[in-house]
């Protein structure tokens, strides 16, 4: 069995195809609610990729925070701004600006693709046969890291979240 035919690789390409298709639908669909639901496809695909990379903690966090909280927040935002629920032609900029945006995206993809190809083409790894403990990906190891080496950034992050919470309340309340 060749390297390309490994089940993890087949799973990777299947999930990657779903993610890219969903991402394109997020930025092209004419329906706001559909865009939020296609976003779920991308985020769930990312969670599946994290499982392929043996990082269960990140996969669970992705599902809880992104799919559980952020998408619901988006749906509330759509509801509160009374967006048109059906098809709407008012979501995109006019055609010239869309073409420029496409050009920028393609140019960026070419530059990044060249750099990645140049720098990492020879690097491969196989997770088959190694345990999550060896990979340093267990929840215990991650929490050890957060609460010892990265304690100060973690506390700063807590303050950032508190500031964002208070800021959002101040901005959104009626007075």
């Amino acid at each position: 069995m060749t390297e390309e035919m490994l089940p993890v690789n087949i799973a990777f390409f299947a999930i990657a195809a779903i993610m890219v298709f969903s991402a394109i639908r997020v930025v092209t669909t004419k329906n706001v609610v559909h865009a939020a639901l296609w976003l779920v496809g991308v985020l769930a695909g990312a969670a599946a990729q994290f499982i392929l990379l043996a990082s269960e903690f990140m996969a669970v966090t992705q599902v809880l925070v992104y799919i559980g909280a952020i998408v619901v927040l988006f749906l509330f935002g759509i509801m509160l701004t009374r967006a048109e629920l059906g098809k709407s032609d008012d979501l995109d900029n006019d055609r010239p600006q869309r073409l420029v945006a496409g050009g920028v995206a393609v140019a960026l993809a070419l530059v990044m693709g060249y750099v990645l190809w140049d720098a990492f083409r020879a690097q491969s790894f196989s997770l088959v046969g190694s345990t999550t403990v060896q990979l340093g990906q267990t929840t215990g190891q991650i929490s050890d890291s957060i609460f010892s080496t990265y304690l100060v950034p973690f506390e700063a992050l807590s303050v950032l979240l508190l500031a964002a919470l208070i800021g959002a309340i101040v901005l959104a309340r009626r007075d």
Binding site: V42, F50, A101, M112, L160
Partner: protein
């Protein structure tokens, strides 16, 4: 697995997100595209963590260099959550004041 297959996937998602930010004019859609960008960075971080985990396997249960990837990805997720919270509050205030969330209508500071 090649490290590049994950990096290329993340790069493609990043570029789709950039296209969304530039091509959309609805505020909520721009925020969704920013989520795509932030999410693609997480894929990179976790992929490199897996690469380092196989290069320098941990002996006991202590944290290793490979643990940095998930920790930073966690930080990115938290910052993304904060960004969406404040961003949607801003868009809500915009809607309340102007009855529209078109980014193009925000030209008060245009010279």
């Amino acid at each position: 697995m090649l490290i590049n297959q994950f990096l290329f996937l993340a790069a493609i998602l990043f570029c789709i997100g950039v296209y969304g930010v530039l091509a959309r004019k609805n505020g909520v859609m721009v925020l969704m595209s920013i989520e795509l960008i932030l999410n693609s960075v997480n894929i990179n971080l976790v992929a490199f963590a897996a690469l380092w985990g196989t290069r320098a396997p941990a002996v006991g249960t202590e944290a290793t260099a490979a643990t940095i990837g998930p920790v930073f990805a966690l930080f990115v997720i938290a910052v993304a959550a904060a960004e969406v919270g404040v961003g949607l509050a801003l868009i809500l205030m915009l809607y309340r004041n102007r009855r529209s969330i078109d980014i193009d209508d925000l030209d008060l500071m245009k010279g």
